[in-house]
């Protein structure tokens, strides 16, 4: 897993609630047998019309893309357990998703792939969406060590929660499977006891 410590970036606002993993990556693009390349079809049906033409009013097509932080409405990542959703977001270039509420499986999938999820209060999220309408070029910072999400202009500063175990994994690029393999003796003992 790739390490994550800190980054600074503009935000990509997607002020829609309940963005499900079918929107993030539709099922018909899940036919690959490797993890790469899913970014091409991120938000496919919002980015393209039925004739594969770009929809110009969709945020990812509107601005020149130079953002690593996706800002999305509440209950982000609900629906299907497809990890392809996390792969697609990461592959497209995002490293952080900020929302007021995340679906459980998506959160696990994201963290297992070095994609940080930052949960902030609903009223703050709304304020940031409003602020971005005035000034979309404002920079935000995500610092995993201090667990802070803040704007460079100092207007917004939010503390976010992350479990110590996940934090250590992200900071060091540790992998859950390596950890589980390292305790195999304990697993075998459990099996014998059963």
């Amino acid at each position: 897993m790739k390490k994550f410590k800190k980054l600074s970036s503009k935000l990509t606002p997607l002020n829609i609630e309940n963005i499900d993993t079918d929107q993030i990556i539709p099922a018909r693009f899940l036919k690959a047998v490797t993890r790469e390349g899913f970014g091409d079809n991120l938000f496919r049906d919002w980015r393209y019309d039925n004739y594969n033409n770009l929809k110009n009013n969709f945020i990812l097509n509107k601005i020149k893309f130079d953002s690593k932080i996706l800002l999305a409405g509440r209950n982000f990542g609900c629906g299907s357990s497809r990890e392809h959703a996390a792969w697609a977001i990461y592959d497209y270039g995002f490293r952080v998703v900020v929302s007021s509420f995340f679906a459980d499986i998506f959160k696990n999938n994201a963290l297992n792939n070095g994609l940080l999820v930052v949960q902030i209060k609903q009223n703050i999220l709304d304020q940031i969406f409003d602020k971005l309408i005035e000034d979309p070029s404002i920079y935000f910072n995500v610092d995993l060590i201090t667990q802070k999400f803040y704007s460079t202009d100092g207007i917004f500063e939010e503390k976010f929660e992350i479990n110590n175990y996940n934090k250590t994994c992200l900071l060091n690029g540790f992998d859950n499977i390596d950890y589980l393999l390292s305790i195999k003796e304990k697993i075998v003992k459990y099996e014998e006891k059963k």
Binding site: D20, A27, V33, T34, R35, N75, E83
Partner: protein, 463 residues
């Protein structure tokens, strides 16, 4: 203090815990399919390790398989490659595969229970969010991502944070024309598509007890649609009776001994849940969804709400615009184009029986295309023996072969853009049944009677 059913099963499977971190949870049964497993096997190959406990994993091909001519090679190259990759991986790692053509092939959440792979008190996972289905047997069952599939393949364990517990109790008698699909759509409409997030649900109460095992599966199946990781129901005599003589159930004396053990799988009287929600069964009516998440459901005769419930106004309006409907309008009598009876929610033999019974001797409306997709080869076999395929075909339905089909439209079975489909599946997301498709989720009888009339119909007018 006593323990809830969830806590009993959870505690029994904790191998170890990380201080201030997740638990290491042992997994009894792991189900895999062609779409979410290939990258996990790649991970194992990259680490040069084999599957740790191959007998605890069972595989089938369901998500992208065609539902016609399954005896022929799969035409679509990418789908064929995914199914072939599953076959190759299972062979290399010594995993039991019920692939296309096998008598046990079918939707992963249909075959687990019908083969007795699913049993009370187990931990069961699969790279599919509807794994919650298996909770109907009193097991902890939930969907996982591909990295987690890799964890289970390599160590038979997962790192998991213990979720909070929620009790949903439904007492009272169900009205005529109300099925388990209506119960779960009603619950989700009340607590929203995210109301269960962070929780593991237990369903109880006399209305739940009165349901058959297959109906209970429909309820647990859609737990994820309110955000809950899973839902479970304490096993009882119906559970034990269902599992008797199943392929992988214990046999003879063993079965009796095991049933005795299973009998302890219930919440203690003095146990506490983090949240308790109660509903009255006689408040529930046939339900249908109007929007683009499963929480957007109404009683079939109700008006579409005039403003957002559980959604922001903006998301609510976006949803109605996508669906081509207006707030305040009714769905009843709305013209439809497609009917889909299938998916891990409603493709079992009881679903097919009630649907067939509804349409027997009638013809579907000229403007409607209707598909019935049995959940598994075993369901298909019973349906053929009972002549249900003939009932459907004589009415103008297409009776096809098992798979996930138009629930997620990964194969050729897609609802065309802007067309309306009354569907017995579990998700009404934008484009879920094909780009631009518009889904109304409902029970098998509502879907069946709507196919006959050509518009959204209330089964109670036809009883």
């Amino acid at each position: 203090m006593g323990k809830t059913l969830f806590e009993k099963v959870w505690d029994d499977h904790v191998v170890d815990s990380i201080n201030n971190g997740p638990s290491i949870l042992y997994i009894d049964k792991h189900l895999i399919h062609e779409v979410t497993s290939p990258q996990a096997f790649n991970g194992l190959n990259n680490r040069n390790i084999k599957v740790f406990r191959p007998k605890k994993t069972v595989a089938t091909a369901d998500h992208n398989v065609p539902t016609l001519n399954q005896h022929l090679p799969i035409k679509e190259e990418l789908s064929r490659n995914q199914v072939d990759t599953l076959t190759k991986n299972c062979k290399e790692h010594n995993i039991n595969l019920y692939g296309l053509g096998h008598k046990y092939q079918g939707i992963v959440h249909v075959i687990g229970p019908e083969l007795g792979i699913t049993q009370p008190g187990m931990t069961i996972v699969c790279g599919d969010s509807h794994t919650s289905t298996h909770g109907a047997f009193g097991s902890i069952a939930f969907g996982i991502g591909t990295s987690e599939v890799e964890m289970v393949l390599s160590t038979q364990c997962l790192l998991q944070y213990k979720p909070k517990t929620m009790l949903i109790e439904i007492d009272g008698d169900l009205k005529d024309g109300v099925y388990s699909k209506d119960i779960i759509l009603y619950i989700i409409s009340k607590i929203s598509a995210s109301g269960g997030t962070g929780y593991f649900v237990e369903y109880s109460g006399s209305a739940i007890r009165s349901l058959s095992m297959e109906s209970r599966m429909t309820i647990c199946n859609m737990s994820i649609e309110m955000g809950a990781r899973g839902g479970m129901i304490a096993p009882d005599n119906k559970t034990f009776e269902y599992l008797k003589n199943k392929e992988f159930s214990p046999k003879g004396d063993d079965f009796l001994k095991t049933v005795k053990k299973w009998g302890n799988l219930k919440t203690d009287n003095n146990a506490k849940y983090d949240k308790v929600i109660k509903f009255n069964a006689n408040q529930i009516e046939p339900m249908i969804t109007y929007g683009t998440n499963p929480g957007m459901g109404i009683k079939i005769n109700e008006n579409i709400p005039s403003s957002a419930i559980n959604n922001s106004e903006e998301s609510f309006n976006k949803s109605l615009e996508y669906m081509g409907i207006h707030s305040g309008e009714k769905l009843i009598n709305k013209k439809i184009d497609y009917v889909f009876i299938g998916s891990c929610t409603n493709s079992r033999i009881e679903d097919l029986r009630v649907a067939a019974n509804t349409i027997k001797g009638k013809k579907i409306h000229n403007n409607v295309t209707a598909w019935v997709i049995p959940g598994s080869k075993s369901v298909e076999k019973i349906a053929l023996e009972e002549g249900l395929n003939k009932v459907f075909e004589e009415a103008g339905f297409e009776f096809r072969q098992p798979g996930c089909s138009a629930c997620l439209a990964m194969n050729e079975d897609k609802i065309p853009s802007s067309k309306y489909c009354v569907s017995t599946s579990n998700r009404n997301f934008e484009g879920r049944q094909g780009p631009g498709s518009r889904t109304f989720l409902a029970s098998p009888v509502t879907a069946a009677i709507s196919a006959i009339n050509g518009y959204v119909s209330d089964i109670r007018n036809h009883l």
